[in-house]
């Protein structure tokens, strides 16, 4: 079996297991149900698209149009279509991730195996699984960004001549348009294509880059000038700030006349979150737990494994920088990917300026795993280039680091379990809450939709987290 095939088998197993969890999870009522009712009420996909164009703060017409398209496609089989689509996206994400990695030797395969556990074990990955509105658009954007990355890597990162070159450039443009009109973080497609081009990965040609840049300019003109959509305000939602969670009114009171302080905090918090798994959603949860004397093993596991991996990355970057100064060494493909990863992290964090949320920074989490591949690969090469002692130290360090990340990755299933339990219970309580709030549908069609979805959720077998061994929540969190 080739090294790439071995990694693909591992990726296939991990992806299938997560897809199975997703399949067992009911469609969530919070956020998703209103969207589904809107989709039911809308006469067509085009109408849904048009209605979403004129909204304020956000320009996401394809998000709404997709929900409607899947709704029409489902013909009442909501779980099959929405959960099936979610599972399909996660399989696509993991496959595209592996596809982007240069795996040509057992050493590459070992680095890729560790990177897979980083991808699936990082806390931002959970944002791809837990939330669905009823489509997980954060996951969708990550898949589209990985498509763009794979396009830049096509033909060995060299532009193709003739119609194939045109096709790749066109695909890059379509990917950008689709992503940008789905979520704001879709503009990361441009970041990936532009950075990859500058780093020497030019599967998308200069012509393609110009085309996508023109589309980016068009997006800004459409959003800020023609439609005057604007940006989200301070008072849209609660947000973490150091050790406290602030309500919109508190945010307005504290940062109303100096919003840039809050925005700067969010950008820095987002970067730290990816690099150190702390803060989470803008809140320093592990620090708060430590101050309160109630730190679970999960907090140590996440923060220390992230800290160790980030130190490995910093060491690799320093080693590359030193080598490039001494020998004018050229950067390999994994080094170029690492450069793209750093820029995506910065850009994704900048896009999180309005509020820090793990889901928004999730694309950067995927690129953190790509950087982990490059770094682990470099460390293994370093280990091979020395004597017995160096090899022994690297082996022990890699075993410890790999074990910590494998442990984190295995926790995904536990978290999904807990989330499924909470979601199913939300459905049980939904009619009571909605009737009390006067939101319960009076018309037969929407009522049948809500009751149908509730029946599906209640009929799904979900284990009670209180009946599983306590060590799981201690080590995996929730």
């Amino acid at each position: 079996m080739s090294s790439r095939a071995a990694v693909l088998v591992l990726a296939g197993v991990l992806a299938s297991a997560i897809a199975f969890d997703l399949w067992r999870m009911p469609v969530q009522p919070s956020d998703a149900l209103t969207e589904l009712l809107d989709a039911q009420a809308s006469s067509s996909v085009a109408t849904s698209f048009r209605n979403a164009v004129g909204t304020t703060s956000y320009l996401r017409p394809l998000r709404i149009a997709q929900i409607k398209a899947l709704f029409d496609l489902s013909q009442g089989h909501y779980r099959l279509v929405y959960r099936g689509f979610h599972a399909l996206l996660i399989v696509a994400l993991i496959w595209l991730f592996v596809r982007a990695l240069p795996i040509e030797s057992p050493l590459d395969a070992a680095a890729a195996a560790v990177a897979l556990t980083v991808l699936t074990g990082l806390h931002t990955f959970l944002g791809f699984l837990r939330e669905a509105f009823p489509i997980n658009h954060f996951l969708e954007i990550a898949v589209l960004v990985l498509i763009a990355l794979n396009l830049t890597l096509s033909n060995g990162g060299v532009p193709r001549a003739g119609w194939r070159g045109w096709l790749i450039d066109l695909l890059a443009a379509i990917t950008f348009v689709f992503a940008a009109l789905t979520l704001e973080s879709g503009v990361l497609i441009w970041v990936v294509i532009a950075t990859a081009w500058m780093a020497g990965l030019r599967g998308v040609s200069a012509r393609g880059l110009v085309l996508v840049t023109a589309l980016l300019a068009g997006y800004f003109v459409l959003r800020f000038w023609y439609l005057d959509t604007g940006l989200p305000s301070l008072t849209e939602r609660t947000s973490g700030y150091f050790l406290e969670r602030l309500e919109p009114s508190e945010l307005q009171q504290r940062f109303g006349d100096r919003a840039f302080v809050f925005y700067a905090y969010n950008v820095v918090a987002s970067i730290l979150s990816v690099l150190f798994s702390e803060p989470r959603d803008g809140l320093f949860v592990a620090t708060r737990a430590w101050r309160g004397g109630d730190v679970h093993p999960h907090a140590y596991l996440t923060v220390l494994s992230s800290l160790a991996m980030t130190i490995v990355m910093a060491w690799t970057a320093f080693a590359w920088w030193r080598a490039s100064r001494r020998k004018r060494a050229t950067l390999g493909r994994s080094g170029r990917l690492a450069i793209v990863a750093v820029v995506v992290l910065m850009a994704n964090a900048a896009l999180s300026f309005s509020y820090a949320k793990d889901d928004i920074i999730a694309v950067a989490g995927v690129f953190y795993a790509i950087a982990a591949f490059a770094s682990v690969r470099a460390v293994l090469e370093y280990g091979q280039g020395g004597g017995f002692m160096r090899a022994a130290v690297v082996s022990i360090a890699m075993l410890a680091l790999g074990s910590a990340w494998a442990m984190r990755s295995s926790g995904v299933h536990h978290v999904m379990n807990e989330h499924a339990f909470r979601t199913r219970n939300d459905w049980a309580e939904l009619p009571i809450k909605w009737q009390r709030e006067g939101r319960w549908p009076s018309d037969a069609a929407p009522r049948a939709l809500v009751e149908g979805l509730r029946d599906i959720a209640l009929d799904t077998d979900v284990p009670n987290p209180q009946m599983v061994p306590e060590w799981r929540s201690q080590w995996y969190g929730d």
Binding site: A113, L380, A428, A457, L458
Partner: protein
């Protein structure tokens, strides 16, 4: 060295593959559901299972065994609403009351007094919303049915 780096991920892959194989035959280790009765579901804060069992025709006012260590160290005989009160879950109590016929005045009185004994104001509010018309609140002599 390469083996040391790859070993944890490979081990995870083998364990996950085993989990998937068990899922095919319906015994996924993480999605295995332990059967519970209506009172246990209420005690374990599982309103979805509560609704499902009531829909299947189980009597929400009947006492059932709650196994030792689920709610108390010892086993107990409780109705689902008593279990919800004992575990301090007003949302579970509300789901039961919303899904089931209204309680008899005497039953309601017993439950309301238990909520009072537990000093659970939220629970009291939930029970007050489902108060039978002829019920009165008289708690002398009411004691907890659990130790």
């Amino acid at each position: 060295m390469i083996a040391a780096a790859a070993l944890p991920a490979a081990y995870l892959g083998v364990l996950t593959a085993g989990m998937l194989l068990r899922a095919v035959v319906g015994t996924h280790p993480l999605w295995r559901v332990e059967p519970v009765n209506l009172s246990e579901a209420a005690a374990l804060r599982d309103p979805a299972t509560v609704v499902r069992l009531i829909r299947r025709g189980e009597d929400p006012y009947q006492r059932r065994e709650v196994r030792a260590d689920l709610l108390f160290n010892d086993r107990a005989e409780l109705t689902p609403l008593e279990a919800a009160i004992a575990s301090g879950r007003p949302e579970v109590a509300e789901v039961i009351l919303w899904s089931a016929p209204r309680p008899e005045p005497a039953v309601w009185q017993q439950l309301r007094c238990l909520a009072q004994l537990e000093e659970d104001e939220d629970m009291g509010e939930v029970l007050d919303r489902y108060k039978p018309e002829s019920a009165v609140l008289e708690c002398s002599g009411v004691t907890r049915p659990w130790k």
